[in-house]
Subunit: 356 residues, 2 copies
């Protein structure tokens, strides 16, 4: 059984295509549903870009803080806020920002039409009703969130996405000019999320030609961006690397790095991009070529990886970290094969975390 | 203004995924609309594959003959046939075959819900009503018809597609095993359609990173398929080459070869794939590297190109051929720039056709 992969319905790509936002969203407005809700990363509050959001009529703009990665509580609060402010459902939800802002807007669009708390939908194919129309305007590239069917959420019990065809965006507006202003470190870590993801999926055991084609193209673009001097074209390529990386996940899986990094994130709240970069630097034995190349990119970017994250962990924290990480069975199987438990024992995982 | 590109809603890719057809289409059936109409290339009539079409209940199977490329008359006749046989619209239209069968099913799905003759819709964004659900099961790869928004039709006045977001498939079922049995020559010509298309778009003046990424990947896959020995993976790669080639058309255009080949097709009925191959062999001055590589592929495939097609043309036929070809302004501009008319004069076009 192969996954029947839901693709984004509409994509517009090009420098300056952000200026088409008003027209594109306008086609979703009618008498019945006339207002949009923008969820915008609050780093743009008071900034020129934040002021440029093309609000019309009774559109709502909600600044979202993603210093912490999205929580189910935040999703529920946003849904309540929107429902409280509007007498009827809006025409759509528009996420503006990086992976977290995009994931939030996916989750909110699903929860606007499905009852209960978003925590009840962390899992696979749980939402029953189609989501509201939702669009993404990425201002950071690398996560692939613009094309993926998940929206990663930290809930009371687990960190797990709402994985649903209803999460997939109806529209993505890919304007490379919008990612030009990202801070260098953040650009690097988010780009490395893409790079690492490609290494893991291409070296994994779950793969077919669809995912391989996308993964190879994404990897090639990452190399052009992070091994060469930054040029006019770099942001175009980075944006396409992220898109291709996201598409490649259709028939592939990530591996060792993502599994361990989930552990870090759960216990320490380490963000996805930086967490992956920290972990990857210790994975020579699993991805020797990839790690070597990663270090060249790291060096070129002039980024210093944080160290000693696990220096003061309690026994309980270590246990939790190992539990969360080893629970990612598909990732381990993809990376190490069916007998992965013989390779990645609790002791081995502990020893690896201790070095980080 | 960048095109807001409509993507196929669902794609399933994988060897043997054809076996999921029944389940996938089953999700589109309900009490209201329960029957599917399959339009199947009649080369499969009486063949094992033809017998394997998973008909259910009152599903219709219509064998379509595509010895000639699709005509608006055929589309209109099919719509009449289906409407005559069913009291209400079916749940969907499923095209099974190569580019022609897929194009026919796109056109029929549009015309089931739009009044009049399909000839009235040859152009851009003319259909007013959404089409019926429609799916494609390609048995030949290279045209990119599985992901494109056009369905090329020969009408009483012109050869031009119904270019509409409503033409885009709701579902494509990409099973590399289905293209394994294609006759060698047809496989080659259809593959060369993809190869030539990539050369033309990558060397054209209309291009952005979205189309470039897809075009480069498609070209790379074509090279792997046609410059190397045929292996187990060849059909997987060819299928992805076609998909990527089709996607690359979002922000690119074809060029000299397609423009001239349209002229051949209109006057002589030369099929798209073979017509492109014939023309491309005379385009050293426009695509020197591409033509060189094409000849290596031709040689490896052991295919003999037809010659002397225009040997006995009347003056009137030459004039028509030149008119049709030079009317493809966008293609010429993409290939030769804004001043293309100074390069591709009527005399030059005539001289080129005379050699073919």
């Amino acid at each position: 059984m192969y996954r029947n992969f839901r693709m984004v319905s509409y994509v517009v790509f090009g420098r300056g295509c952000y200026n088409q936002t008003k027209d594109i969203l306008g086609q979703q407005r009618d008498k019945e549903k006339s207002d949009m809700v923008y969820l915008v990363d609050d780093v743009f509050k008071g900034a020129e870009f934040g002021d440029s959001i093309p609000l019309q009529g009774d559109d709502m703009l909600i600044w979202v803080n993603v210093d912490d990665e999205p929580k189910t509580k935040l999703v529920d609060a946003l849904v309540e806020q929107i429902k409280g402010a509007m007498d009827k459902n809006p025409a759509g939800i528009v996420g503006v920002g990086g992976g977290s802002a995009m994931d939030l807007s996916k989750a909110v669009s699903v929860m606007m039409t499905n009852e209960g708390s978003s925590a009840e939908y962390q899992g696979y194919d749980l939402p029953k009703n189609p989501s509201l129309y939702h669009a993404a305007i990425p201002t950071l590239s690398g996560t692939g969130a613009e094309v993926s069917r998940t929206c990663v959420l930290t809930g009371p019990e687990k960190k797990l996405g709402i994985n649903s065809d209803y999460s997939v965006f109806d529209q993505i507006i890919l304007d490379p000019e919008l990612i030009r202003g990202a801070p260098d470190e953040q650009r690097f870590y988010t780009g490395m999320d893409c790079y690492i993801h490609c290494i893991e999926s291409l070296e994994g055991t779950f793969l077919n030609e669809f995912s391989k084609s996308y993964g190879q193209k994404s990897l090639e673009l990452c190399r052009e961006v992070f091994l060469n001097k930054r040029t006019e074209e770099s942001e175009d390529k980075l944006m396409m690397a992220s898109y291709c990386g996201g598409m490649s996940i259709a028939y592939s899986q990530v591996g060792v790095c993502h599994a361990l990094s989930y552990g870090l994130a759960y216990v320490l709240g380490t963000h996805h991009g930086i967490g992956n970069a920290i972990v990857f630097d210790y994975l020579d034995e699993f991805y020797p070529e990839g790690v070597k190349e990663f270090r060249i990119m790291l060096d070129k970017a002039g980024v210093e990886l944080p160290r000693g994250l696990c220096a003061n962990l309690t026994e309980e924290q270590f246990e939790k970290m190992i539990n969360v990480s080893l629970a990612m069975e598909l990732l381990w199987e993809n990376a190490l094969g069916k007998d992965w438990k013989k390779i990645m024992t609790r002791e081995k995982a502990r020893e690896m975390f201790e070095r980080m």
